[in-house]
Symmetry: C2
Subunit: 606 residues, 2 copies
Amino acid sequence: MQYNYRNVTIKDGFWKKMEDLNSKVTVNAVYDRFYETGRIDAFKFDWKEGEDKQPHFFWDSDVAKWMEGAAYILSREDRPDLEEKIERLIDDIEKNQCEDGYFNIYFTVVKPEARWSCRNWHELYCAGHLMEAACAYYDVTGRDRFLRAMEKYADYIAKVFVEERSAAFTTPGHEEIELALYRMYKTTGKQKYFELCRFFLENRGAPDNTEEDILESPYYAQNHLPIREQKEAFGHSVRAVYLYSGMADLALETGDEKLKEACIALFDNITTKKMYVTGGIGSAYRGETFTVAYDLPNASAYAETCASIGLMFFAQRMIALDPENSAKYADAIELEMYNGMLSGISLDGDKFFYENPLEIYLAERHRIDMLNYTERWPITQRPKVFGCSCCPPNLVRLLSSMGNYLYSYDEKSGEVYINQFAESVYENGDVKVSVSTNYPYDSTLKVKTNVPVRVRIPAWCHGFGGKNTYTKIENGYACFDAGEFEIGFLMKPELVASSVNVVRNLGKAALRYGPVIYCAEAKDNEGGVHKLYIDSEKVEDAKVSFSEELGRSVIDCEGYYRVDEKSGKLYAPYSLKFEKTNIRMIPYHCFANRGECDMLVYLNVK
Amino acid sequence: MQYNYRNVTIKDGFWKKMEDLNSKVTVNAVYDRFYETGRIDAFKFDWKEGEDKQPHFFWDSDVAKWMEGAAYILSREDRPDLEEKIERLIDDIEKNQCEDGYFNIYFTVVKPEARWSCRNWHELYCAGHLMEAACAYYDVTGRDRFLRAMEKYADYIAKVFVEERSAAFTTPGHEEIELALYRMYKTTGKQKYFELCRFFLENRGAPDNTEEDILESPYYAQNHLPIREQKEAFGHSVRAVYLYSGMADLALETGDEKLKEACIALFDNITTKKMYVTGGIGSAYRGETFTVAYDLPNASAYAETCASIGLMFFAQRMIALDPENSAKYADAIELEMYNGMLSGISLDGDKFFYENPLEIYLAERHRIDMLNYTERWPITQRPKVFGCSCCPPNLVRLLSSMGNYLYSYDEKSGEVYINQFAESVYENGDVKVSVSTNYPYDSTLKVKTNVPVRVRIPAWCHGFGGKNTYTKIENGYACFDAGEFEIGFLMKPELVASSVNVVRNLGKAALRYGPVIYCAEAKDNEGGVHKLYIDSEKVEDAKVSFSEELGRSVIDCEGYYRVDEKSGKLYAPYSLKFEKTNIRMIPYHCFANRGECDMLVYLNVK
């Protein structure tokens, strides 16, 4: 099962707009912020003790992700500005790479004595991101000096970790290099990188590996068990999904059934026990972690943008590893595309959320202000810049490679899988598939193909129709022969409830319209959102319209506003007094674009 | 308006059992714990640096409250054991009181150089409790050496604070001495104690008083405004209600209308904006404080036992200060008597809650265990002993003086107010009123009286009947002439909802039966309590029965248990699937007497 963004051209519609926003605004904004904060100049390796803008130990990775994203943009656009920036960075990398192959800003200019001494200082994580960027740049441009530098670095890492075992730890404290080494292997064809990838994966949580835990917990960095025995997602959620992505790469490469089973179990555990309705994962601020099953608090939801992106990476690999269930993985990707991942970026493309809460209730946040103490809550507005800036460049590289997720090609059967829907063309040698659609505003796809195709039937849809007939339904896909056809998914506003085990959401529901989860903002709902009740029997008739302000479909639902009896009493015999009201819902990913206000995904239901 | 527990004899029933439990178990258990922890021997003033059991700066107050409670018991019972213990403590107090009148263990044996140097170290608070104990012991025994010692101390305090102004602060960091000085004034007849009481009250938050805030907040110790301008309850809840009690004493004594208005505003603010349905106040652990209006989280509820007791003190004074509204104050007292205060003590009388949560959800507490980190939650079981041990002796003195709350006597009209209901007799000179009742299990009162009486019609009741007719209803009381009569309040299980402004409780309700708030414990409800829905239309028909295990009425309600569709999915189209079930409810004050388990006051309602 192959996929490659370079086989895909997005022509128009929602994702063309996002691609353009990224290449016109986001990629520049992120670079500018990185420049202002010293991240770019840090690659000159000339920082001196006492100067400001001291390099941080994860800065290499921030810039590497940006380089990777910029490289993807170069595959479609003539962008001498980006090319120049990348080339200058590669100059610096070549110039400042150590003789032995080592490359890390922090551990060369700030703390050289500490090289490979602390497992939690992201050295291998930074290396991994640089390797991914090098592969991407080589793929797009054919120029190999960045890739050669990273090969040299990877060779050196193999020497230190495998041959000499001279580092103070065996496996990275923050996983990433595993999937990056697999990519190095696929890009260069060199088996040694696959072996190094395998080394890091097989040693994680291995019984004879007694290396230190991070945050004093074996769970935090998925150290608690060997990889094949991990069946429940634990610990830092970004680390986790990066690890699972590497595991899926290894399982695909080796055909290891036990490892594949672990990957499936982990994916299912996340998506059936530990994922928000928006696709957000990692519910706890403390450690940015997965917690226990069904622990999905809304107002304090951490749900890091990078974790949503990481889940897309993992799911994409699972499509290849477990193709007969590919629909469920593609469903998860779709959920992230329109919700948990997408809420990470502002509508104007230059502001970002690290955390993505499902509720903002400002009154509650002020509860103990009088002691000059504020509880810890997710921020309510996307800032332009923040210290730990992993998410913005992660969005840059994701939004510039969305083609990866639209199609996959089964080289055995010769079929093309249409996994995600956008006005686009897939071309791979003689194979050509074109899709015309205004998805997600409209769910009709017009398809023209010269090979048999399979169209994912989205999990949210309760039926579909079209002008031509499918040959069969299999594994969540409608199968069509070569030719032209149309298919339309039944799309109506619908209430979605979480499992009753999420007891804080009992009696509440989220509104879904196609793949998009909606929320209510106080901005649109006079009197606030917390006392609103959506009328479950009228949801089908809710009015969908296009908002010029947001550039998105908004939904007006019939509902009610709970009011008190006039007594003014704090406690009174139970009664339900409602006033009819309209409830305006907007796509969740659009929240917090018009100033700070209360927001709710899960509304009360009447 | 007079009240005095010594005019009241509780003969039988609920409060006789509590009185007996206190005098047979609690008063001894608290003394024993105080002895074991060194609090008793600390009065010998022989602790030396390096020894264990170093006296804490609030230990004087713990023991003083115990002495006060033990004194009340002596008023009814021949208890040479208690008398001996009190006398030995008074020996120590006399022996170790400083020449100048000062008495404080910590600031004599541990940190003598720090006398009157730190506002937050409870010196005046300890002094106040000692004075209250001295008054109580003098009232009961007529022996005055404790009272004389405390007069000497009070005189010294007046010298330091008023004449010399030599202390590092002007008003106490923890209020208590204000109401204690008022009591000294009433007990000794000496105006100077009233003046000192007034001094501390008038200087609190005064514009020219620039003394330090505690916890860096003017709100914490009610320093933010002069007393007459305080209209919203803020800060540490126990401090607050002790202050407001002193304010009510001052307003009563002086007839100061503006101060009376402030007292009424504060009482109304608490009971209509910041009080749990159980009577618990001070919802935040951080600073043990009142927070903003309607901020009443259930699982993290602080609701300190001492704060509930303090609210009873405040409300009792308000009955005298604002007699035409006395029913509302007596209602608040009743709420505490059967709920918020009473949950502070175990059914067997020797274990105590400092905090009184309205919900226990163990699953949520385990959410980030894997990082060896536990969020801060109220404890789930009453321990026998704890470091900050203010609540246990506060319960001892309260439960031994319950007569204070049953009756008040209006000397002007010659009427007796029956405020709370117990099998009891009120005798005051020629005035004699006797009440026969099995309240709160049954709501019928049989009354025999030789003066006109007023019977409070409880706020929870929706009607009443009886064998004799009242002459009129006035200010929430049914008025009767001298003679014999019977009155019965309509008492049915009923759902109580909080204001819609408490948005976390929307769609939920508490169960009330007469004055008693009920809760559901997982112990009685297979499958846990969080997925239960009580059937609002069947509550009236709920079955009340007596539980031998708890010695209380329990209630079986018709209800439902929410179950998921069989899909096992985390998210599915909104639907409500219920299974019928019985819901066993127990009095809230009985929770956590049978081992740790989930508990809920606010159940979902269908």
